[in-house]
Amino acid sequence: MRRVAVIDYGLCNLDSIARALEECGGVPTVTAEPGPLKTATHIILPGVGAFSTAMHNLRQAGFEEVLQEQVVHRQIPFLGICLGMQMLAAKGYEGRETPGLGWIGGEVRRLKPTRVNERIPHVGWNEVHQQTAGPLFQGIPSGKDFYFVHSYHLCYGQEAHILATTPYCGGFISAVGRDLIFGVQFHPEKSQRLGFQVLRNFLSL
């Protein structure tokens, strides 16, 4: 059984993620306490809102040490969605400068338009171009559209952990992966058939 812990730090639409996971064959538990992470087979960190508030809430609720233990030491598959992916960075600048989980590295900065018709927030469907083959995008052609809604993005110098990029504001990183730690800037739970394929691929790890 796929017991998926969905971390709740009080800011976002968790019902959709839980429903999507059920549709994909998982058994989700939305939790505001770190306890259920200890028995989960998969962990999802969703998120909307500001980086600094989210990291603060996550730390206040005692998630950071348990995540470190389960994800980094015990290698439980982990997926960060939207702000949850950005929190894998070393630090973020939304709100005030705040350290992130640091598992992928890099920094989170505001998107800067490079063309006149690029508006912020980046909201809507845009292409996800796969840079590295891997389990997360198994069975999904490169360049397909996924749903995004965000104003900040992960900036990262090394190519090693970049799984996909998206052509907006000069191109930004839309998926990262390192061992069994994954992050996607788009919302798989709102991206219909292909989004569900990403969730199924994650649950099959």
Binding site: C12, N13, G49, P121, G124, W125, S151
Partner: protein, 253 residues
């Protein structure tokens, strides 16, 4: 390249979906759940669900109905109607809304937009502006489901709420609503050309060429429509095919 969204709008009034003309003469168009299921199957880009009687009746959003619909809705969902407090927003997000639309409260207490943006992020707050064309060619914003004049200019209001942290503008022409005579391109252009956030055109779409006009001449980033999908054989998918042939970037699932 980001794609132009085609967004069906569902108007909810006393237990059912309705569609009117110029915010009046409401006709029943079936159950909301049925509509959500059809749009889900068709993989539309996004849905907007507006409870048009909440503010008039002085009640908060109907969380139970939103919860039921959101459970079947595997696409982005914006919910509006009676959103007045940060608690309303938190509750709507909790039952499955991705974004909230604020209309009357954005005029009555603009600071509310900042409060939502600070707590949940700008991407969560859509300001819905209903506007009517005046005799001299100027425009005026109306609140309370189009029943109350405000004396405000829609461009000024859009600028103000964008500064306060609104993530998108849903711009509806009251005069064109339900007429299927075409979007109010002039209104859309005035607002969209001064905005750096997305502007969704709404009110008046009767055919695919109207949609092209709102994008080409109105500079809208996205399109909302209701009557064209409720009362004609035209579909979001055909609209995309037409617009793609005109050179617009559309998503095909």
């Amino acid at each position: 390249m980001i794609k132009v969204r085609i967004i069906p709008t569902l108007l909810f009034k006393d237990y059912g979906l309705v569609k009117g003309i110029a915010f009046d003469s409401w006709r029943r168009v079936g159950s909301a759940m049925q509509a959500v299921k059809v749009y889900n199957l068709r993989e539309v880009d996004e849905l907007v669900f507006l409870d048009i009687t909440a503010t008039l009746q002085g009640r908060p959003p109907d969380l139970e109905t939103v919860d039921e619909l959101a459970d079947e809705c595997f696409m982005p969902l914006t919910v509006g109607g009676g959103v007045k407090t940060v608690q309303d927003v938190q509750r709507l997000l909790r039952v499955g809304a991705d974004k909230v639309a604020v209309n009357t409260a954005a005029v009555e207490r603009p600071e509310f937009i900042r409060e939502i943006a600070e707590k949940f992020g700008s991407q969560c707050v859509v300001v819905s502006i209903d506007s009517q064309r005046l005799a001299g060619g100027a425009y005026e914003v109306f609140t309370h489901a189009g029943t109350r004049a405000t004396g405000l200019d829609p461009v000024a209001l859009a600028r103000k709420v964008a500064e306060l942290g609104a993530g998108e503008i849903l711009l509806t022409s009251i005069d064109r609503d339900g007429t299927m005579d075409g979007y109010d391109v002039e209104l859309i252009r005035r607002v969209s050309e001064v905005m750096s956030i997305p502007v969704i055109a709404s009110g008046g779409a009767g055919n695919y060429e109207h949609m092209a006009q709102a994008l080409r001449d109105g500079k809208a980033t996205d399109l909302a429509a209701a009557s064209i999908f409720h009362f004609t054989q035209q579909t979001p998918l055909e609209a995309k095919t037409y617009l793609a042939a005109q050179g617009f970037h559309m998503r095909f699932s």
